[in-house]
């Protein structure tokens, strides 16, 4: 073989590329290459001893409604990557789904998305995983109102997901809960006692973690439903004067967070003691712009905001407000979903290309 050239291109091979090369080497070669340089030593040690962890958040799905030229309402979907590096092979256009037409995302939970076909019969509700490009259709679902559907999936506990449909009972202080599990592949009905009347906000977003679904109820508290025992608990909201509808519930760093907009001030609270229901004020900032709260970063102290048609990240540690992406237009009605990719095994029936 000729003497190897020194291509300058090799200088800037991204770490991800080097990792994908290194993971194809036998351990003996890898070990020998430990002394190539400090950066190779670090990379090989990491590659060798750690699993390749996916990022805790890859981006946001963003929906908005507008009117087509004939003044019919239509739904638009945009995906905004929040990674500073390449987000890998995640099909965020959802083109692996065997459906034509507009897909509307209803919920997002630890890598899985709950979706429906826009403007089609209610039976077409499905769960998909954009990282694994897998999906499954939910059987026997006839719903008058989609917004009472919640997705619960925790890959650290089980490969199976749970779909929850909620309806308040008008006669007694309890909830009608229907649960679909991918394990049993069937629906089951429960009555969950809430002790008090519950009014959910329309399009209320659920936050699932530790086996419990958390929902903002209209009267200044959170309803926490344990999806195994079906025990329902109330968590008082932190002291705030504003209407709850300007607030957002989310999960960050393993704790429940609540952000609320009061005029031009944003207040962020964290549920410090879950058992006792003790909130602490985490951050307060007066932003000299009109903003809307979109979501929490699952790991870092970041809140995503929309300012006019710009998606921004607010960093609580530094007080910085950074521009992430310019949205196509300033919407009237919009929804956003934080997306954390999950590359592991899921229980979705259809795998792309299989």
């Amino acid at each position: 073989m000729e003497a190897p050239k020194k291509p300058h291109a090799a200088n800037n091979l991204a770490n991800d590329l080097l990792i994908s090369i290194l993971t194809r080497l036998p351990p003996k070669s890898l070990c020998r290459f430990l002394c190539v340089s400090k950066s190779w030593h670090r990379l090989i040690s990491d590659t060798y001893f750690q699993a390749q962890l996916p990022p805790s958040m890859a981006g946001l799905f963003y929906h908005f409604k507008d009117q087509d030229p004939s003044h019919c309402w239509r739904i638009n979907k945009e995906y905004i990557s929040t990674l500073s590096y390449h987000s890998g092979f995640i099909d965020t256009t959802l083109s692996f789904l065997p459906y034509t037409g507009k897909i509307q995302i209803l919920d997002s939970c630890n890598g899985l998305l709950l979706c429906r076909l826009w403007g089609s019969p209610s039976s077409n509700v499905f769960i998909c995983n954009p990282a694994a490009q897998s999906w499954t259709l939910i059987p026997n679902l006839k719903l008058p109102n989609f917004y009472s559907l919640f997705l619960a999936f925790d890959p650290q506990v089980s490969v199976h997901f749970t779909l929850v449909r909620l309806q308040p009972n008008r006669q007694s202080p309890c909830l009608e809960l229907e649960k679909f599990s991918s394990q049993t592949h069937s629906w089951a009905k429960f009555q969950v006692s809430t002790e008090h009347d519950i009014n959910f906000l329309r399009k209320c977003r659920g936050v699932y973690f530790n086996g419990i679904l958390h929902l903002l109820a209209a009267r200044k508290y959170i309803v926490a439903i344990d999806l195994e025992s079906m025990v329902c608990r109330r968590i008082e909201m932190p002291g705030t004067t504003s209407l709850i509808r300007t607030g957002l519930l989310g999960k960050s760093g393993g704790s429940l967070h609540y952000a609320v907009k009061e005029k031009r001030e944003m207040k962020v609270w964290m549920l410090k003691d879950y058992e006792r229901g003790e909130w602490v004020s985490k951050h307060r900032v007066r932003l000299e712009v009109l903003f809307y709260i979109l979501g929490f970063h699952p790991d870092m102290d970041i809140v995503f905001l929309r300012v006019q048609n710009i998606l921004m990240s607010y960093h609580m540690n530094t007080g910085e407000l950074k521009e992430v992406h310019t949205l196509r237009q300033r919407p009237i009605q919009y929804w956003s979903f934080v997306f954390s990719p999950f590359f592991g095994e899921d229980a979705l029936a259809n795998k792309n290309g299989v």
Binding site: N11, S29, H41
Partner: protein
């Protein structure tokens, strides 16, 4: 189907050369596919490919073209083709292809390139690796000696 106009897109390399290719070929790249879909409209047909030069892009598109019609071939036929394709790339092009496949999200090409580079370097010495990748040894002789000792512990 006779008379059906194929959807075309124009890709612009970093040095400004335009490549007009079929949409289905360009969509082998998830980066382009996402860009096309996020545009949401049919009119968006000019896509800049930053950091990929025309030489590299033309080679990348050769790969995409073949794989866009992969269903027409036997599986081993594609495998053979891949092998020849990556075999004829010199080391420079190989690195450029890897970078392009990474920035353009072409999973198959990235795997192909990574496999090829891995096969080229597996038997090499650390010094040969430094030359191949143009890496400076930033260890002191003592540090290097210590790592070598640890290695022997594991592999002698």
């Amino acid at each position: 189907m006779v008379g059906v106009k194929k959807k075309m897109v124009t890709l612009v390399s970093s040095d400004g050369v335009e490549f007009v290719v079929e949409k289905r070929v360009a969509e082998q790249s998830l980066f382009i596919k996402n860009a096309l879909n996020e545009g949401g409209v049919e009119e968006k047909v000019m896509i800049p490919i930053p950091k990929v030069t025309s030489d590299t892009l033309s080679s990348v598109l050769e790969y995409c073209e073949k794989h866009a019609s992969a269903t027409e071939f036997q599986e081993n036929e594609i495998e053979e083709w891949d092998k020849e394709y990556i075999e004829k790339a010199d080391l420079d092009l190989l690195y450029y292809l890897l970078q392009a496949s990474y920035s353009m999200s072409i999973m198959g090409l990235m795997e192909l390139g990574a496999k090829k580079v891995a096969s080229l370097i597996r038997g090499k010495s650390p010094q040969e690796i430094r030359e191949l990748f143009n890496i400076k040894n930033d260890f002191t002789p003592e540090q290097e000696e210590e790592i070598r000792r640890e290695m022997q512990w594991n592999y002698e």
